[in-house]
């Protein structure tokens, strides 16, 4: 699925930490999004009841996914659409490029879709001579820059306006000023002409509705509406779990998604597509295709411990509260999905704890993510479980395994524990100044490079207690 990054996570993190501009931009964005979310959650009465209900709806859907996928398929067909099933990313690429070629598409417009990133769709379409225009402003910027998203809600968070103006100016063949209205006006103009001439519109799917065969797009810019109203063919690509059973359920999840993602009550546009246009209509698509993608999701589904990771509604709030993401941004994770949710699903979707098993360690298990998740996925818990799974599977460094083995031997019993601490207390003496160790020696340096280490006390609490007991 993901193209494997060449460096290890720690190296990617170190590289990211040097990018001051990105870090400043990320801090500003996540602070704004988090505080907006807090306000919006307070404004809606009984927020915890909504979370509980959203959790129940998603749990019920995922646990009955076979039934609801069948229902969805039946109803999309009843509404006049067609449904295709892609087990792997390659299947999805084949199906979608096949559809585009069938319709002799020269130009495709795309509204934002993480699953199409996941399956690496754009290069596949471009390879068969199809021009693909990303129309979400951030995705368009990234397309021009040749980069991948670094956040699932605000994908180009790491780019500043000067960089954006440079990219736009190159396309325009003249200088585009870097103020927001100028940049927006340019994008509007150039993408509007793409919408008007595109043969095929490709979208993601925020929520499909099983009982009616509907597909819901949640956007702010209007590109979702344009992508589905003007081109004659619409292809919606859907991660197989992105569904709710009924319209009622849609209201429930729509009440938490925008609030959690950006702090809005609702996004500017929520479009519910119920098949292609009816005969009497003029705009809207003539052909509607739904491509349902597995690409490793069934692997997660089969695992009762991690199945709940599929409840995710892609709100991005876990990114916004993650203290690690805050420092390193999205690219350091090295995968399509970063942040807390990405650290859980990437090793599982890829079925690879050896390589991607590094990601669950990109966390202090602080629990902020699980606390903010609108569908109550205990992400911090899943991260811990993945670590355990990784060790059980034998993917561990010899040295680390040895170190914990030693630790266990000494800490198992009070006598050996006391011995170890006494030895450390004596052994450290040459290194201690004013109660602290500063020396940046091997083994210590990972701590002492940035912090002083307190010296172990001459008398432990145990010693003090013993003494007190004996003197009574």
């Amino acid at each position: 699925m993901s193209n494997r990054p060449s460096m290890h996570f720690r190296d990617r993190a170190v590289k990211a930490l040097k990018d001051d501009q990105m870090r400043q931009a990320v801090r500003k964005a996540v602070d704004r999004l988090s505080s907006n979310k807090d306000k919006a959650a307070q404004e809606l009465p009984n927020w915890e009841e909504w979370r509980e209900q959203a959790y129940r709806i998603r749990k019920h859907t995922v646990e009955n996914l076979d039934y609801y996928l069948s229902k969805l398929t039946e109803n999309v067909r009843k509404a006049g659409g067609q449904v295709h099933f892609a087990q792997t990313a390659e299947d999805a690429r084949t199906i979608i490029s096949g559809l585009c070629e069938h319709y002799e598409a020269k130009q495709v417009v795309k509204s934002k879709s993480m699953v199409t990133e996941e399956i690496h769709l754009n290069p596949a379409l471009e390879k068969v001579g199809i021009k693909v225009m990303e129309t979400d402003l951030a995705e368009y910027i990234l397309q021009l820059a040749g980069e991948t998203p670094s956040h699932i809600i605000v994908p180009a968070i790491h780019k500043n306006r000067q960089q954006i103006a440079e990219l736009f100016s190159k396309v325009a063949g003249e200088e585009i000023k870097s103020d927001t209205p100028s940049l927006t006006a340019f994008a509007r103009k150039i993408l509007r002409s793409s919408f008007m001439t595109a043969d095929v519109g490709i979208t993601g799917c925020n929520f499909a509705i099983a009982e009616t065969g509907s597909v819901t797009l949640v956007t702010n810019e209007g590109n979702g509406r344009l992508t589905t109203s003007l081109p004659k063919v619409v292809i919606t690509v859907m991660g197989m779990e992105r569904m709710v059973p009924t319209f009622e359920d849609l209201e429930a999840v729509l009440s938490v998604l925008p609030r959690n993602a950006t702090g809005q009550k609702l996004t500017s546009y929520i479009s519910v597509l119920n098949g292609p246009r009816r005969d009497a209509e003029t705009d809207g698509c003539e052909k509607f295709h739904l491509v349902i993608v597995d690409n490793g999701r069934s692997h997660i589904l089969a695992d009762e411990e991690y199945r709940q990771a599929l409840h995710c509604i892609r709100c991005g709030a876990c990114f916004n509260v993650c203290p690690v993401y805050r420092q390193i941004g999205g690219h350091a994770y090295g995968s399509v999905y970063g942040g807390p949710i990405g650290s859980v699903i990437t090793p599982l979707l890829e079925n690879d704890l050896a390589f991607w098993g590094e990601l669950p360690y990109a966390s202090t298990l602080c629990g902020a993510c699980g606390g903010v998740c609108p569908v109550k996925i205990p992400l911090h818990d899943l991260l811990l479980k993945l670590r355990q799974r990784r060790i059980d599977a034998g993917h561990t460094h010899v040295f680390e395994k040895f170190a914990f083995g030693m630790w266990r031997r000494f800490f198992k019993m009070p006598s050996t524990y006391k011995f170890a601490m006494k030895a450390a207390s004596i052994g450290q003496k040459p290194l201690v100044t004013n109660g602290y160790i500063q020396a940046q020696l091997p083994l210590l340096a990972n701590w002492t490079n940035s912090r002083y280490l307190p010296a172990a006390a001459d008398r432990t609490f145990r010693d003090i207690w013993e003494k007190r007991k004996n003197s009574r």
Partner: protein, 235 residues
Amino acid sequence: MTKISENQEQEAAFLQTVANALGRDKPAGNAPSRKEAGPPVFWREQKFENEQPLEQFKANLENLTGKVMVVQNGQEATNQIRVWLKSLQAKTAMLWDHPELRKYIDVSQLGVKTSYWNADRPRKSLIETAEQADAGITWVNYAIGYTGTIALFNSGTTGRSVSLLPPTHIAVMKKTDIVPTMSTVMRDLLERRHQGSLPATVDFITGPSRTSDIEMDLSIGVHGPFRVWTIVIEE
């Protein structure tokens, strides 16, 4: 356009994989039982005062830079639209060919060249007209007080492009079209589905087009309209 075939084998294998993952021999055929669907119980049971939906609608949409003008009748509505169009220096407007709009709005008084979205003209012409119009004028199927949203059901005479392509969207409604929450709209949609009359597209529009993609700086009017101005006729 010719129809492309769907691969039944791929479909069967896919659903079989999902069923197996859930510990089943084959995909479940019967609807699973559910305790509670939809929003929390308290949400469905809440009561709203008479004036609340309109008050909330106005407060919410104005908070998003939209406008909500309450008028007494069709003539006042027409006047207001004329004033707005003049302020925009508009030359043309396109309207939904909707019976309520025809009833309340006298297009001859609007001071701009107007056209209706209906089957009288081919697709290319309709879309081009909408693209070039300075304003798109629609009725609403519902307005939702709780979020400042208008819900538009699209059809042959109520095209999507009218509320999407022009830089300004003017929506007209009666006060009784304003409902407290989305729940009412969802119930209606389900009812229509049962009657086989579910619209091909339902658009929930909450304020103008926007983005914060550029350095978290709010920008209004990215791909959709810059302005959503509404008129509520209090008859």
